[in-house]
Symmetry: C2
Subunit: 320 residues, 2 copies
């Protein structure tokens, strides 16, 4: 009988769970608030309890499952199944998530980086179209990446896919990583607000965005894009700059990988075709001729489900 | 009995051949001038004749060989074994190299891009140390790349590894590809001379390099590096700029792939540790923290043999 997969998407505010068929159809979904108190020591026990509780609730037994996959922030040792340096989980020391979750649930467990897992989700059931060569860029609070070549994630020595830290402007904005001019500082939600604030200072003309900023109103990336769509001049200056750097990074990445698709996801990608078109115009300007005519930019399709679906796909390695 | 491999490195001026053991030891080497007359129509027959002639000479039979591998410029269809757009070979129309060489020699044949093949050579027997994740940048007349992830070349849709056309300076020097600011325009032998000429125009102080340029002497990348080693001020300004852009590209590439090694080869890399140290300083400045402490930059080790060795390695796919 066909077995099922469990996907866990561990984030700083919520933990999302899903039970999926082997074909990646979501059958059950639930979620939990992430309790990061006490150095995040409740997180793994909460995951174990929640899975066990839901299996009881649905009257399902362990042998109906292939295993559990999980996406998490932090630096991951995939073989050992450990995580370290996940600061928004308060995990400062090494966490033996694989050992603890396998012991607690009686199921096999695999773990990878959250951006990689979202990429696997889009690859399997979303915009990636099950391609062998697909690149994903996630524009959220930060900028993450998941790169697939010859059907496999590019991990390299572990940090492969750190596209948010490709330098798009040498000596540009200071990044949380300590370097200057990382893509993340220009294309993340926070980066877009930063650009807006800087441009508002220089700009003298009419603009609702400028008025809001001068008024001390809270600005978000969504507000910038919404105003740009309404032809606000300053908002369009900001969006142009964001899309220039994004197009540059997409081009440089695609010159290296020449993927079938370069998929743009994450909260900022909610700006939709408005964003995609402008990024694409810059991509066409910067990419190598053979690359710009072959690699196709597109928007992610799965939204918030990419994480649990991709996480579940990690467990497919345990299928007979 | 262990069989042998044939490697062919097809270039615009010479065709290099080698017979290798299955372990990649070169046993015989020879070469031929490339005859690009008549739209390059003599090239494939010359390769066939030369291989057949040498097998007769060495009294070897076809069944002693696994097959033939070849590296070539141009756009390659690896499955069909065709090449198109290899302008320095005068190949403007599709060349059915696989069909013709298999028919002419009676041996199996595989083909890939010259930069990829050189990367495979270094991976197998040189600086790549048979790693699963290694990136190669070749600094010659142009700048080429060969990227290996999870033990496989990254081809993507065919143009993967075009690192010479990653943009390091938006709106910079015009490149032969039609874009502006490609790495190739700053780190190839011709790019280095271009930078030297530009910097010489601005510079007013003492410099042997400036004197040579003002005098109309022919400048090469080697002269620039040699003068820089002798503390010529202007030459060092040029080398600093070259190494800044190279370090930036190495960092951006490594943030994506996080390879064990990033290997720098090609004629320009003859500048040795003098080059490597300065590129490395910039790499450390630009790369993501986890990447700069894990990915290691090194110089290529095989020199001109990288091509035939890597080409021969393509034929290993035919081993039983």
């Amino acid at each position: 009988m066909a077995k099922k997969l469990i996907g866990v998407d561990l984030g700083g505010t919520t933990i999302k769970f899903a039970i999926l068929t082997e074909n990646g159809e979501i059958q059950q979904k639930w979620s939990l608030r992430t309790n990061i108190l006490d150095e995040g020591s409740h997180i793994v026990p909460d995951i174990v309890d929640s899975i066990n509780h839901h299996l009881d609730l649905y009257k399902m037994s362990r042998d109906q499952f292939v295993g559990i996959g999980m996406g998490t922030p932090g630096t991951i040792d995939r073989d050992k199944g450990t995580v370290i340096g996940a600061y928004n989980l308060n995990w400062k020391t090494t966490q033996h998530v694989k050992d603890d979750i396998e012991k607690g649930t009686g199921m096999k467990f695999a773990v990878d980086n959250d951006a990689n897992v979202a990429a696997l989700g889009e690859l399997w059931k979303g915009a990636g179209n099950e391609g062998d060569d697909v690149a994903f860029i996630t524009l959220g609070t930060g900028v993450g990446g998941g790169l697939i070549s010859n059907g496999k994630l590019i991990h390299g020595l572990g940090a492969g896919g750190e596209v948010g830290h490709m330098i798009v402007k040498p000596n540009g904005y200071l990044c949380t990583c300590g370097n200057h001019g990382c893509l993340e500082q220009y294309a993340s939600a926070t980066g877009i607000v930063h650009i807006a604030q800087d441009k508002a200072e220089e700009y003298e003309g009419d603009s609702r965005l400028k008025a809001m900023i001068d008024n001390g109103d809270e600005i978000t990336a969504k507000i910038v894009f919404d105003l740009a769509k309404e032809n606000d001049y300053l908002a369009n200056v900001v969006v142009d700059e964001v899309c220039m750097y994004l197009g540059l990074a997409c081009a440089n990445l695609s010159d290296a990988l020449n993927p079938e698709y370069l998929v743009i996801g994450g909260g900022v990608s909610a700006a939709g075709d408005f964003l995609l078109k402008r990024v694409n115009a810059n991509f066409k300007k910067f990419a190598f001729p053979t690359v710009k005519t072959s690699t196709q930019l597109k928007l992610a399709e799965l939204g918030n489900d990419a994480g649990v679906i991709g996480a579940a796909s990690l467990a497919r390695q345990f299928m007979d």
